[in-house]
């Protein structure tokens, strides 16, 4: 797994854009405070979990600069998103 560029193909700066990418936890990696996560395109990244307690496989987290900063809940549908 290679780290993504901090300015990606869409010319997006992670700090200026306050980027937060929803990712799904695929596996918990040693030494216990990191996880292999998949982004929306299925690309794997190693993500630090130091800032969240009790994260489990299958959960969705919001990742910024290689660190999970929040849990992310997906809506059931677009209509629910704007209810």
């Amino acid at each position: 797994m290679s780290p993504a560029s901090s300015v990606d193909a869409a010319e997006h700066c992670i700090t200026c854009g306050d980027e937060g990418i929803p990712m799904q936890v695929r596996a918990l990696a040693a030494p216990g405070s990191e996880a292999v996560c998949l982004d929306a395109c299925g690309a794997p990244q190693l993500v630090a979990l130091d800032l969240l307690d009790g994260v489990s496989v299958g959960e969705s987290v919001l990742v910024h600069a290689g660190v999970a900063i929040a849990r992310a809940a997906a809506p059931a549908s677009a209509a629910e998103a704007t209810a």
Binding site: P3, A4, I14, C16, D18, D53
Partner: protein, 371 residues
């Protein structure tokens, strides 16, 4: 893609746009500010402002942590990068921010070992892999990013690394918001609140805005539907005579933020008495430095830096753009002497800053001759 498609639904977008049209009072001009660079980028990229009635104006605030770094701090970073044996690491956009005599990219071309990283943890890995060299991480960002730097420094301490240092330029979002609200230049009706900053600090700290200044705030997500809905919620508050902090981004933002992140920040950082913001001047208690407990990892204590305050180029109007006083295209050098390829000011460096975002996505829609 999950988490994305739901929030880019065109039909729903049109429906929310129609709701906005039904709420606004004809003849009243509304000025709403978004402070987050990610929101500015989304607004221009997806044409959100084109879906609003002409009497709803979006004003772009100082939400880009790259744009507000003054030239003198860039000079300090370059001075450290030129120290023998130093590996200087930073996020990508910092490489192109102009100092007095060039950028970090120019320093790299001159022989300094400057490396782009995606995460402070990448910089830590470089330090582990190069034990004989000092590795300095140039930390930037608001409260969204500061916890990542903090946990990296904690890990460095726990691993006993002696060659990892941080030059801290983290800034905090609330003091500049207060400075903007106190400014006589600006009259705003409401705020689109910074979604990812609030995942760390929570929505509660924004309550001073309605309480002390009588302006509604809606914490927003970053997709076009998030922004439209947030704008609708602000306008609904204004129409109904309400004034409060609402959270449109509940799928991610907890009311009280991330306690662990706040704890880590409190351990590793302390507030600077004041810090210079490009275009805004000195703002009290608006930035972080390493705490006394982490002084041995502080690059500014390890290395001697010029520490000189440098005035912006005379032609640069970034300060006025950052405060929302003028629009990007109203800057006299926009698109001519100042372009993303050759930026005079920081607002043109980062894709999320108003000038670069407008240059990349918005300028073709306007009937205007660029000289």
């Amino acid at each position: 893609m999950k988490f994305v498609d739901e929030y880019r639904d065109a039909e729903l977008g049109r429906a929310v746009s129609a709701q906005i049209l039904s709420i606004v009072e004809p003849g009243r001009h509304y000025k709403l500010m978004e402070v987050c660079g990610g929101h500015t980028h989304s607004i221009y990229r997806y044409g959100v402002d084109d879906l609003l009635p002409s009497n709803v104006e979006l004003v772009h605030g100082p939400g880009c942590p790259v744009c507000v770094i003054p030239m003198g701090r860039v000079d300090d970073g370059i001075a450290i990068a030129h120290q023998p044996g130093v590996i200087f690491t930073c996020f990508g956009d910092m490489l192109r921010v102009p100092g007095s005599h060039g950028t970090l990219l120019d320093a790299k071309a001159q022989g300094a070992d400057v490396r782009m990283v995606y995460s402070p943890l990448d910089a830590l890995r470089i330090a582990r892999e190069n034990p004989e060299r000092d590795v300095v991480f140039f930390a930037i960002g608001f409260e969204t990013t500061a916890p990542s730097t903090a946990l990296t420094l904690k890990r460095a301490r726990a691993e006993g690394l002696k060659n990892f240092f941080c030059m801290c330029n983290h800034v905090t979002i609330l003091p500049p918001l207060r400075a903007l609200l106190e400014s006589p230049d600006l009259r705003l009706d409401g705020f689109i609140g910074p979604g990812h900053v609030c995942t760390v600090v929570g929505a509660r700290p924004l309550q001073f805005i309605p309480a002390d200044y009588g302006r509604p705030v809606v914490v927003s997500g970053f997709e076009p539907l998030d922004l439209l809905q947030s704008i609708q919620m602000i306008l609904a508050q204004l129409a109904e005579g309400r004034c409060e902090v609402e959270n449109q981004y509940k799928r991610v933002v907890p009311e009280d933020g991330n306690a662990r992140a706040l704890e880590v920040m409190a351990e590793v950082f302390e507030l600077r008495p004041h810090f210079e913001w490009r275009g805004l001047g000195f703002i009290s208690q608006s930035a972080l430095k390493l705490s006394e407990a982490y002084a041995d990892l502080d690059a500014e204590l390890r290395y001697s830096v010029p520490g000189v305050r440098v005035a912006d180029p005379k032609a640069c109007q970034c300060g006025e753009v950052l405060k929302g006083v003028i629009k990007p295209w109203e800057c006299k050098v926009f698109g001519s002497a100042c372009t993303p390829e050759h930026a005079i000011g920081t607002c043109m460096v980062s894709p999320e800053c108003a000038c670069a975002a407008y240059y990349n996505y918005g300028r073709f829609a306007r009937e205007r001759e660029v000289v």
